[in-house]
């Protein structure tokens, strides 16, 4: 039986996997990176290190940036330098201790030591200035948007340097949502102009410094961005929704990139979830996408579900499909 790491590599190289890669099993994700921005937790409101306020309403499934006039950080893109101050990535070594201990505890023959990085470049722009302001500014103030994105990119590169120096990750799990379930937020050409070169720089830096695997999370429609994903160095697109026509993507791009998802969280992960419904969607995904360049997984980022029990139920059904199909 192959290790989780070996099985993943066989799957994404089109070799001989002996079972489906089961969701996030091949990644040991290190969330406790001391220089990442503070994340909001259920029922709370926080202001993070960039000054962005996040609120997570009680009983709901996610946190959101608060961007009314009193809270928005970047009030005028033409003066972004006045409003946007990146936090320092240098912290006392003491704060890295638990992170390093976690990384050292992982059997790297079995799993990839994986650094979690969020938010991404696009998310950071709209967290700072609001979605409408960000998207209109690509037209109205393109030079200033380039400057802002370059500034965030420089921050990400400083962050990458610290992460690499401290835990030498094998993989990066990087979060940046680029669309809705039906469309990308912007035209591919706009994405190419504003984000592609900067991501190529960031992911290139990780790869030049020993990171073997770039896993990018974007639980949306982004099929039209796949050629850019390949070129910027993404090995696995996690969060691929069924609206992308995953089998078609595998057919067209398998071998250059792999796809992790095709089990839309919305249709299986809800309060009244059932094992039967979960099994139905897992089987559909496994049968239509096949054994190569595909990892069956909930589309949600990270290895949990919104409602207790769903993540494990999906894993169990994937194991069942492995028994049937391998």
């Amino acid at each position: 039986m192959l290790t989780k790491r070996e099985n993943l590599l066989e799957t994404i190289k089109g070799g001989n996997p002996d079972r489906f890669v089961n969701q996030y099993e091949f990644l040991d994700i290190i969330l406790e990176i001391p220089i990442l921005v503070t994340m909001v937790t259920p029922g709370k409101e926080i202001k993070n290190e960039w000054g962005i306020t996040f609120r997570w309403p009680e009983g709901q499934i996610g946190g959101f940036p608060v961007q009314d006039d009193d809270h928005i950080v970047l009030k005028d893109i033409t003066q972004w330098e006045k409003y946007v101050k990146a936090p320092s990535v240098i912290v006392p070594e003491e704060k890295w201790k638990a992170t390093i201990k976690h990384a050292n505890s992982v059997d790297r023959k079995d799993k990839f030591v994986t650094a979690f990085v969020a938010p991404g470049l696009f998310e950071m722009t709209h967290h700072l200035m609001g979605m409408e302001n960000a998207l209109t500014s690509f037209y109205e103030e393109p030079e200033k948007m380039h400057e802002l994105i370059n500034y965030i990119t420089d921050y990400e590169l400083r962050l990458a340097e610290q992460i690499i120096n401290h835990i030498h990750p094998d993989a990066i799990f990087h979060h940046d949502d680029w669309g809705s379930q039906k469309s990308t937020f912007m035209a591919p050409k706009m994405f190419e102009e504003f984000f592609y070169p900067n991501y190529k720089k960031i992911y290139g830096y990780y790869k030049d410094n020993g990171v073997q695997l770039i896993v990018h999370h974007s639980d949306c429609y982004a099929a039209t961005l796949v050629p850019y994903m390949i070129d910027m160095g993404i090995d696995i697109w996690q969060g691929v929704m069924t609206t992308n026509n995953t089998p078609e993507l595998i057919k067209n791009y398998g071998g250059k990139i792999s796809f992790m998802g095709d089990i839309d969280s919305g249709v299986v992960d809800f309060p009244e979830w059932t094992v039967e419904n979960t099994a139905k969607y897992v089987e559909k995904a496994c049968r239509r996408c096949g054994k190569h360049y595909f990892i069956p997984c909930l589309t949600q980022g990270l290895n949990f579900s919104s409602f207790p029990g769903v993540y494990n139920a999906v894993s169990k059904e994937i194991d069942n499909m492995s028994k049937i199909m391998f």
Partner: protein, 210 residues
């Protein structure tokens, strides 16, 4: 190309910085304010159709709506009625517990561009606030409820139920958002569901004139 046609074309292209000047030039050349307003509404209708067809994306729709808004600012003093919202009032909001606002804002912009007065209640709006807004505003033709989370769909259902049971009349209820389907809309007794902002404006016009 006539000046008024240029206004139409530049609204479609979202040329926010030059629209105010163009509208003023069209007025100076003798075009009626009402006619200029109509070509801008037509331009936004084209933008909505292109968005629904996947030919353009959110940024293009946003800059077009912003261009129209700047043009309307120039037009307002010249309109006989002083009013750009001949189709009635639309109350819009994201339902209780849900802080998503992008889709709701796009719908609000497109509905306003179609000729409605829009009262935007914001996000996390309790059902009571929707009812209060219908009571407090004149000529309410549409109430539009948005929700992006599966967990807030019950709040959408409650809002529609409360509006229907309120005995207030003269308006139709539209619903939309990622987890909402035509089946769910029908199940909760909403009057219409639309999948995107472009089609929402088309449907709102249809409902208001029914």
């Amino acid at each position: 190309m006539s000046k008024i046609q240029e206004v139409k074309s530049k609204v479609e292209q979202g040329r926010t910085k030059i629209i105010p000047g163009l509208v003023q030039e069209a007025l100076d050349e003798g075009d009626k304010a009402e006619d200029i307003l109509q070509v801008m509404i037509d331009a936004m209708s084209t933008v909505g159709d292109k968005f629904s067809a996947g030919e353009i994306f959110v940024p293009e729709m946003l800059v077009a709506a912003k261009a129209m808004s700047k043009g309307v600012d120039v037009l307002k003093p010249h309109l006989v009625s002083g009013d750009t919202s001949s189709l009635g009032t639309c109350i819009i909001g994201t339902v209780a517990g849900d802080l998503h606002d992008i889709g709701k804002n796009l719908v609000a912009m497109m509905i306003e561009s179609a000729g409605f007065k829009v009262v935007d209640l914001g996000v996390d709006v309790p059902k009571e606030k929707f009812i209060e807004a219908v009571q407090q505003n004149d000529n309410v033709k549409i109430v539009a409820c948005s929700g992006l989370l599966t967990t807030t769909m019950p709040a959408m259902k409650e809002t529609v139920k409360a509006l229907k049971e309120s005995k207030l009349q003269g308006f139709k209820i539209m619903v939309g958002g990622a987890p909402v389907t035509p089946e769910f809309a029908s199940e909760i007794n909403a009057d219409a569901y639309t999948p995107d902002a472009g089609s929402a404006a088309v449907e709102a016009k249809k409902l208001a004139s029914a």
